[in-house]
Amino acid sequence: MRGIRSLIFPRGAWFHFGASAWIVAALALALTSCEGAADLEGRTAEEFYDGVRLDVIVPFGPGGGTDTWARLVASFLQQELGPGSSVQIINIAGASSIAGANDFALRRRPDGRTALVSAGTTFFAYLLGEPMVRFDYREMRAILSSPAGGVVFIRPELGIGSAAALRDLQEQVVYGGISATGNDLLALLAFELLELDFLPVLGYGTKGASRIAFEQGETNIEYQTSPAYRSNVVPLVERGLAVPLFSFGLLNSAGEVVRDPVFPDLPTVFEVYRSLNGQDPSGPAWDAYRAMLAAGIEMQKSLWMHQDAPEASVEALRTAARRVIVNPEFLEQATQRMGDYPFYVGEDVEDLFRLAVEIPPEAMDWLTELLRVRYGLDRM
């Protein structure tokens, strides 16, 4: 430690150090005291956001799929919220979206000035009881949600032309994904349900990286969400380098699995199970799949407020959202970016939410056991 003794600053340096610390402190104080303190209690829904800024927390970095969704929704919401209102996106990335959602739940006041965008990953973290989760959807109110589907496809060398031929599969297939607790969970559950002999290779950095592994032949079965499927997998299908098998499907209001509107020609997991087994799927594996379908696909993107936010603010946002989702200009842009998926507002979202959280106890036990035994997840 030669240098410890030489760390005695010359006098001048200490003086300037002190001065700059004061300047920083003063700046910090000035910044924090800028917060507008107008009381919004007692405002009606019509005027709630007049001259008020709504912060929308996106728990991912700028530029991703969820951020794109949020920015599109925000720009149209702003038009509907009335004069003088503004909607601002705040990206708080980290810990697979847990950081941003925690920030919303713990550090933002329920005064109607802050909303949260949640993605399928956020839901999974909540449903699977990730240890750092400090937010609870039961203490939030839903504003808007929309689904985004996914398609499972396979390499042509395996000689399978369609999902109905899956029982002729001779060898173990290799699946590439990111992690068992993220969006890949749905594909893994579908394979369990269909009793496919598969080797999960998890650890790819992104779904783009796992798609390259599929193109290389390192893996031979893979899923992609609909926008990525349309732009990157459809060209492969056209060149005979990939064969689509099935889509995850969507849930209708009765809780039944129906075909994905973007892929009307592809069977759903439900149909594939029926054609392979001659009967409807049931039991814990199916219940778990359906709950995760509601969380990960049906509510892939959603917008939430605090439970204790002023009633007028929730009403104002829901009314604005109802107008946004019938705006032809909005629908055109949404279809172009995300695919032709429906939008749900308010109570409709909460109905879907119930499908996700009301997972039967034996299905939850089955899922916990699967994740523990097969994927080494032992902290639930």
Binding site: S6, F9, F15, F17, G63, R71, G94, Q216, P235
Partner: protein, 493 residues
């Protein structure tokens, strides 16, 4: 394709788009100039404007920003010994000593010219290799990628100078630091102590700033004088230009290396400057001046870090896999414009791809001029007394570190790593190997894990693995031998 390229150039030359590009260059220069700010910050700045803009103008804005981010970052690296961004860390090793000798403006102009040439070579290389890159990238599976990270890690020996053993210890420490947070392949968290901040690991910018900037600042204060030891500014920018021309092969080699590293998705482009620096040292017979102000130590990393941006465009555009932080940002911008990266960027959207390349080339030239003209004045910063400069620098560094995640943990981590860096500097431990270990930690673990679960022991017999392994062994051995035979005090042959 030539005709399409011509049309794309005409499209770019529309005044509105040129204006957009210049605006992007402005943002990129500012972001590069302030230590610790990365492409993500630049993206957040321009995103609100990009949304709803016509794609070509938005593209000009974004690429203008991307193209020059690693040009302006040279200012803090050379003048203050503080990394301007993750791409210009290696520039410090020789650039900063040059500034202390009063040759700041020579170092800066050499850096800017090599940066520009690197950027242009990057754009040309992308254009030439566009049709054949797909099979090239598809040839690299996880086992090959793992071996490439090993090749990168083998550079720690060269970068450790005369103390290779300490280099290995330092590199291992970096691997350990890189292991903090969520494991790349399994749902487990390591060394997080239940702190949410550590779940994603320590941000690269915080590590780089702490390791290099804070110790430099302390020493500056201890010495209590200006950065430059001599009273007046030495030779000017013409000398720098001559240096670049004199070392044209080094510029070319480093640029090609930069494009190559950029091209490989998932390797972590942030080590390219160190690899390039290592390559420059390894291939020189006279090594005594490296680390004390050898101009080649500035030229090599600066050529490659800008060339890399061209290289990373390929995996970004064709596969949708960003090769660096900056291109991750670009990918986001594309998505906002309703353009999805993928093979269609080579046919249906070829015009956008070509427009991107032209913008990259043109923005490089504009950015270099914008940096070169005021550089002589900015270089005077190295004559400001330490006691006036240091508080200002500390504020900027804290600001830069805090921008990583905007969590107070950034500041704590910055302080802790700064202390580690200072202790290492005081005791003569090499710091670059630590950074290389840190950057390659996640990638090496990830690809080793995937290779193992997918292939078992069989991955070791893949031809690509054997070839890269052989190259690594040969480079390590020749590097070690040349080091031994280098004559102390020997001049150029």
């Amino acid at each position: 394709m030539i005709e399409a390229a011509f049309h794309a150039l005409l499209a770019l030359l529309e005044p509105a788009r040129i204006l957009m590009m210049v605006a992007g260059v402005g943002v990129g220069l500012c972001v590069g100039l302030i230590p610790g700010l990365s492409g993500t910050v630049g993206m957040s700045l321009v995103l609100p404007f990009v949304f709803g803009m016509d794609p070509s103008s938005a593209m000009a804005l974004l690429i203008g920003m991307v193209a020059v981010m690693h040009t302006a970052d040279t200012f803090p690296s050379v003048l203050l010994g503080v990394p301007g961004s993750s791409g210009s860390q290696a520039t410090i090793v020789d650039g900063y000593p040059l500034a202390r000798k009063g040759e700041a403006s020579r170092a800066l102009s050499a850096a800017f010219f090599s940066s520009m040439i690197g950027g242009l070579i990057g754009a040309v290389a992308v254009f030439l290799f566009l049709p054949v890159t797909r099979p090239l990238v598809l040839a690299l599976g996880s086992p090959e990628l793992f071996m490439l990270t090993i090749l990168g890690l083998s550079m720690v020996g060269v970068l450790a100078g005369q103390r290779p053993l300490l280099g290995i210890v330092s590199g291992t420490l970096g691997l350990l630091l890189g292991a903090v947070g969520a494991a790349p392949a399994a749902p487990h968290y390591r060394f997080t102590f239940d702190a949410l901040y550590l779940f994603d690991g320590i941000p690269l910018a915080v590590v780089a700033l702490g390791l290099f900037a804070l110790p430099e600042l302390l020493d500056l204060l201890v010495r209590g004088r200006a950065i430059a030891d001599v009273p007046k500014l030495g030779s000017g920018w013409m000398t720098g230009l001559k240096d670049v021309i004199g070392n044209r092969w080094l510029v070319f080699r480093s640029s090609v290396l930069g494009v190559g590293v950029g091209l490989i998705p998932g390797l972590g482009g942030s080590v390219v400057d160190w690899l390039s620096y290592g390559q420059a040292v390894q291939s020189s017979s006279d090594r005594q001046e490296f680390g004390r102000g050898d101009i080649r130590g500035v030229i090599a990393p600066e050529s490659s870090n800008n060339a890399k941006e061209g290289g990373t465009l390929i995996p970004t555009l064709i596969f949708g896999i960003p090769g660096s932080g900056t291109t991750a940002v670009l990918l986001g911008g594309l998505l906002l414009l309703g353009l999805e990266a993928g093979p269609q960027m080579l046919d249906a959207n070829l015009d956008v791809t070509l427009l991107i390349l032209w913008t990259l080339a043109l923005a490089n030239v504009v950015g270099t001029l914008a940096c070169l003209l005021p550089s002589r004045f900015i270089a005077r910063l190295s004559f400001v007394p330490a006691s006036r400069l240091a508080p200002f620098l500390l504020v900027i560094m804290l600001f830069g570190a805090y921008q990583s995640t905007r969590h107070w943990g950034d500041l704590v981590a910055f302080g802790a790593i700064g202390l580690l860096g200072w202790l290492m500097k005081q005791n003569g431990w090499p710091r670059p190997p630590l950074l290389i270990g840190f950057v390659l930690a996640a990638a090496s673990e990830r690809y080793l894990w995937i290779s193992w679960t997918r292939y078992g022991w069989e991955w070791m017999t893949h031809p690509g693995v054997l070839i890269i392994g052989a190259v690594t062994v040969v480079l390590t051995i020749t590097g070690a031998r040349m080091k031994r035979s280098a004559v102390p005090g020997g001049g150029a042959p």
